[in-house]
Symmetry: C2
Subunit: 302 residues, 2 copies
């Protein structure tokens, strides 16, 4: 803590005065983060000439967001999501590398371990929804198959709910599965066509969306985490090209490269072999992993 006399607060120098208050023992990274945060916060307040009343509204909003959080609800993450901050952080930290599969947000529903399943298994435990075959492969950036890769999948049901949202009503682990690619790096399983769904709107973030005249929907998608030794783990979604909310995802998670057609397949012989009604829907997701030797930022401590 620096005993040198400092200049007093003025409107013109407001951010600088706050930054000058940082002590000499602060880490370089904390100095950089707090400095930039204060600079942008003050610029925002000045830009909009925030009124006393609006400041109060903001304080009440942040307080309510923190107080809405519990073991199964994270309103502050939801806030970050709807402001595009989560997706920006995701994008910055996992930039597209040539043909490697792009990432998107993890989302709040990967709360339980997916059950290990045989290739071809049906992860739909309720019999409801439109049957769908998912096929795909896991390859490295030179096109070589990655056998034994873990393919963790989870999705909402036909009504837009994840199992963890309706315990007792939806069977545990419904529409979740952990598969391993075969010797050719391929995987396949049976599920249903996913459905778009609203994020929770019974809290301050719901009020924010209403004030912003924004809908609360995420377009239909299947979540994937693909993992194999020696490669970067990929956390991503596959989106349904026909979804009405595809270009207005409330959390901005859609990337062009992740959109797929859930096509109608009419093939009696395949349907029988796979244990599906005919016709059925089918989507393909070929995942390309990059090696895990990429550079990582040395400094991550705040």
């Amino acid at each position: 803590m620096d005993p040198t006399p400092r200049r007093l607060f003025t409107e013109a120098a407001s951010a600088d005065v706050v930054i000058e208050s940082l002590g000499s023992a602060v880490t370089p990274r904390t100095r950089r983060i707090l400095g930039s945060l204060v600079t942008h916060l003050h610029a925002f307040v000045k830009d909009v000439q925030l009124t006393d009343q609006e400041w109060e509204t903001g304080i009440e909003f942040l307080t309510a967001a923190g107080q809405k959080c519990d073991a199964v609800r994270q309103e502050c993450i939801l806030l970050s999501d709807v402001l595009g901050v989560s997706m920006l952080v995701e994008t910055i930290n996992h930039r597209a590398v040539r043909e490697a599969t792009e990432q998107t947000v993890l989302g709040p529903f990967h709360l339980v371990v997916s059950p290990e399943r045989e290739l071809g298994a049906d992860i739909n435990l309720t019999g409801e929804g439109t049957p769908c075959l998912v096929t795909g492969s896991v390859r490295d950036m030179d096109g070589r198959p990655v056998p034994g890769a873990a393919v963790d999948v989870w999705q909402s049901d036909a009504k837009g709910f994840y199992d963890v949202q309706k315990p007792g009503e939806i069977p545990e682990r419904n529409l979740r599965g952990l598969f391993r690619t075969d010797g050719q790096g391929d995987f396949w399983f049976r599920t249903i066509v996913p459905c778009h769904y609203p994020i929770p709107i019974d809290g301050p973030v719901g009020r924010l969306l209403a004030a912003a005249d924004r809908h609360p929907f995420r377009p239909a998608h299947i979540h994937f985490i693909v993992e194999a030794p020696g490669y970067e783990t990929v956390t991503t979604h596959v989106f349904d090209k026909e979804d009405p909310y595809l270009d207005t995802d409330v959390v901005f998670g859609v990337k062009e490269s992740l959109i797929r057609t859930f096509a109608v397949t009419d093939d009696e012989e395949r349907a029988v072999r796979l244990g599906l009604p005919n016709p059925f829907r089918e989507v393909r997701f070929d995942c390309v992993l990059r090696p895990s030797t990429r550079e990582t930022r040395a400094e991550t401590q705040p």
Copy 2:
């Protein structure tokens, strides 16, 4: 809610994509505030290249701040205070107007109604501390006295505590008083010399100050709210020129025009007349009010 197809999220256009999600029914003011907020938030994330881990730390911090709040503790305001945001909002909304008395932050301790007291009364109910006479006047911008103005004062005790912080230990309404200026617009009362004190540091804001290598102290001050019909109400402090934290106030509340000397007065006759020991300390605060007819922003709803 706009059904027009929109472009997908990209790192380069991230803030614009979020702003484009605002619906057509949003108010112009909400559009402006959210637009600027998102622009600055995204610029911050890009500027520091915020890592996944740092984002998580931020989410946990905001969550903890909201959850620390209760009826007598407002951690989100404290956060705004230590980042200089409260003082900036205060300054923007109450800019100095010629010789009118400058404002500063209200602070969190004006929780109770100050008891009405006669001019000259002693607001120190414990007998502890260094006796001090406060004298002053309330005038308009042409120098005319404002008789009957309400002068609401409150301050910490000699150990740096407000009565509401130690109920049962400090007498209720200790060091609080509501005075009325006399026919000449003057006021005077007895109190003690205030003491600097730390803001509460047993929450996330305390951890932030520690990480920023900043002390938690506010320099010694007496709070004033001066109010009279036809004038803008002034919320301000008078600071002790000798305080060691004067130029490092943790909430950045000090303005040059609000610093006063708590001088030593050696005057047996006055001391006896005022009911003070001799010598005693003395500080003068002449308050200048501006007319209440100033322009106000029409639009304050978010």
